[in-house]
């Protein structure tokens, strides 16, 4: 019997997703909406005479696109396989479904990176915002950590939604509240104390704070452990998703639900 390595399966799943996205670019609608959001935020800030918040207006749409794709595209990975009736064939193959999900979700998350240059380009073209990053190392590391946490969160969404009879309700409900809790536009330091406590459990809040700080170069104190918090939250989320996926697959095999649509 052939040995099935994790890396080739992840790579094959990533290639599969990349090919599908290339042929259905509309699936990245959250990215294509970014220029509109950037224009909206910049217009509001400039009208209020707050051009010091330009970086906030450029970063927020990129983070929103990352979360929206995790929710709407990555979150449907298992459910789509089941609806496509390919989930049974995957379950009958020696490779683990989890690896397929990681590969596919990683590519979707990477695709959402397009949102950042798109947002910056929009800001520069329409408002003359020159993108400046005071500490590129922290910015880059934070973006990667935030993306890893997004992959883990998307895996959790995928398991959660495939077990839900009405995933759309959850998908619609989990967007705006998390943009607020995640402080993607408004720093959570401005929120009431009890909301800040909740926000600290959301990796987006740590990520958004660090990204903004790295653009200005101020407020970067303790960035390594703040980065570690993002990665720690990612690890906890991944462990929960892994455990729930195992339970879900065992239950689906027992109840005969792998092929149900």
């Amino acid at each position: 019997m052939r040995r099935v390595g994790a890396v080739p399966v992840i790579a094959a799943a990533a290639l599969l997703e990349a090919r599908m996205l290339r042929r259905s670019p509309a699936e990245l609608f959250a990215v294509w909406l970014v220029p509109l959001q950037t224009l909206g935020y910049l217009a509001i800030f400039r009208f209020s005479g707050r051009d010091d918040l330009d970086a906030y207006a450029v970063l927020a749409p990129a983070i929103i696109a990352l979360w929206a794709l995790a929710l709407l595209r990555s979150g449907e990975v298992i459910a789509n396989e089941r609806d496509n009736q390919s989930l049974e064939a995957i379950a009958a193959a020696p490779a683990r479904l989890e690896l397929v999900m990681i590969g596919r979700v990683a590519v979707i998350t990477l695709a959402s990176w397009v949102a950042l240059p798109l947002s910056a380009l929009t800001g520069w073209l329409f408002f003359g915002v020159v993108p400046v990053v005071a500490d590129p190392t922290v910015f880059g590391l934070t973006y990667v950590a935030m993306s890893l946490a997004t992959v883990a969160t998307a895996l959790l969404f995928a398991v959660f939604f495939v077990n839900s009879r009405s995933p759309r309700i959850f998908q619609n409900s989990l967007s705006y509240p998390f943009y607020v809790l995640g402080g993607v536009l408004v720093p959570i330091a401005l929120y009431p104390q009890w909301v800040q406590v909740l926000s600290r459990g959301v990796y987006l809040s740590w990520s958004a704070d660090l990204l903004r700080a790295s653009t200005t170069g101020t407020g970067l104190q303790g960035w390594p452990w703040r980065l570690a918090v993002i990665l720690g939250l990612a690890a906890v989320t991944f462990i929960v998703a892994h455990a729930l996926l195992g339970l879900t697959m065992r239950n689906a095999r027992r109840e005969g639900k792998l092929g149900l649509t």
């Binding site: 049974e88 995957i90 009958a92």
Partner: protein, 324 residues
């Protein structure tokens, strides 16, 4: 490949129940089914819709777990040694879906090759081979533009890709045109010649008759009969039949009435207006009925064996469109 000593598939008292949402009772898909499939054979599984054929395939593919009983594939238990089983089977579930519609056949298979631990030049060569085998070599279209038969061929290519010891084919020729279905039979023969074992569920009696070394009939999750296609026909020798050509419908009806009154005739029917079909009952009944017919001057007679199709209807029972 499976050694001769170890059956390719061994199922003992297999039971599978489903819980139906909103209903009190549980549905029994397999009801104590036992079956052994020898290595290197093509075993046909015949039965009406809802008989339990697909459920059995899914249990053997480790997609479903049995409620009770055991199932072994290539000597490995489908529950305890699921990973070993998965590395030794190819699964082809019929239907339009199950493929990635935006991708080409080759791109689909590249993904599935990785799922079976195949990589590099070996995988590329194998993909090229199976694509040629199923006749999709010259096709460079996205699967969403495939006809149903082409999709079915791609399903088959996916099943063949890992060179499985046991190939599970669940109604693999659904949607194929007759020429393709004929080519499919050659393909299956080739797979078996290379050492694989094939479990084939089908409604196509001609296909089962042409391909299978053994045929099992199941219904209500239970095994009704297992034999060679010819052997199953012989099960019905008690119902050997005679077709009698008459000159006109009135004569046909008269002959039918006379024959029906005989103790050694089980059933009669007029077909095509002038042909009387007689099913005989008991030893030497054919000879006695033939003598009686010749004595009446009826010489256009033919004695035939039942086709697998007729055996199927006899064993399963004629239930029309009902699904149990």
């Amino acid at each position: 490949m499976t050694s001769a000593a170890v059956p390719a598939i061994e199922v003992r008292e297999l039971r599978r129940e489903y819980r139906v949402r909103g209903a009190q009772k549980r549905v029994t898909a397999l009801d104590g089914l036992s079956l052994t499939v020898a290595g290197g054979s093509v075993h046909g599984l015949l039965g009406p819709n809802g008989a339990g054929k697909t459920t059995l395939c899914k249990i053997l593919a480790t997609v479903l777990v049995p409620t009770s009983g055991t199932a072994r594939v290539a000597g490995f238990d489908v529950e305890r040694d699921a990973l070993q089983v998965r590395g030794r089977i190819g699964l082809v579930l019929g239907g339009d879906r199950g493929l990635y519609a935006k991708l080409t056949a080759r791109e689909n298979l590249e993904f599935w090759a990785a799922m079976y631990g195949m990589s590099g030049d070996g995988a590329s060569l194998r993909i090229r081979t199976v694509i040629e085998q199923v006749g999709l070599g010259g096709v460079d279209l996205a699967v969403e533009r495939f006809s149903r038969g082409m999709k079915q061929r791609l399903h088959l290519a996916r099943g063949l890709l890992p060179e499985p010891e046991v190939l599970l084919l669940d109604e693999p020729t659904t949607g194929m045109d007759p020429v393709s279905a004929h080519a499919f039979r050659d393909l299956v023969r080739g797979v078996v010649a290379a050492g694989s074992t094939v479990l084939l569920t089908t409604h196509d009696m001609a296909e089962a008759e042409a391909l299978c070394t053994e045929v099992s009939m199941i219904d209500g999750g239970r095994l009704l009969a297992t034999s060679t296609p010819r052997g199953l026909g012989e099960l019905l020798t008690a119902y050997e039949r005679i077709d009698v050509r008459t000159s006109d419908p009135a004569t046909a009806e008269r002959v039918r009435t006379q024959l029906e009154a005989r103790d050694d005739v089980a059933a009669t029917a007029v077909r095509d207006g002038t042909t009387v079909r007689v099913e005989t009952r008991g030893e030497d009944a054919v000879g006695r009925v033939l003598s009686a017919l010749v004595a009446q001057g009826l010489t256009q007679v033919a004695v035939t064996s039942p086709s697998l199709d007729e055996v199927y209807v006899h064993v399963i029972g004629d239930r029309g469109m009902d699904v149990r």
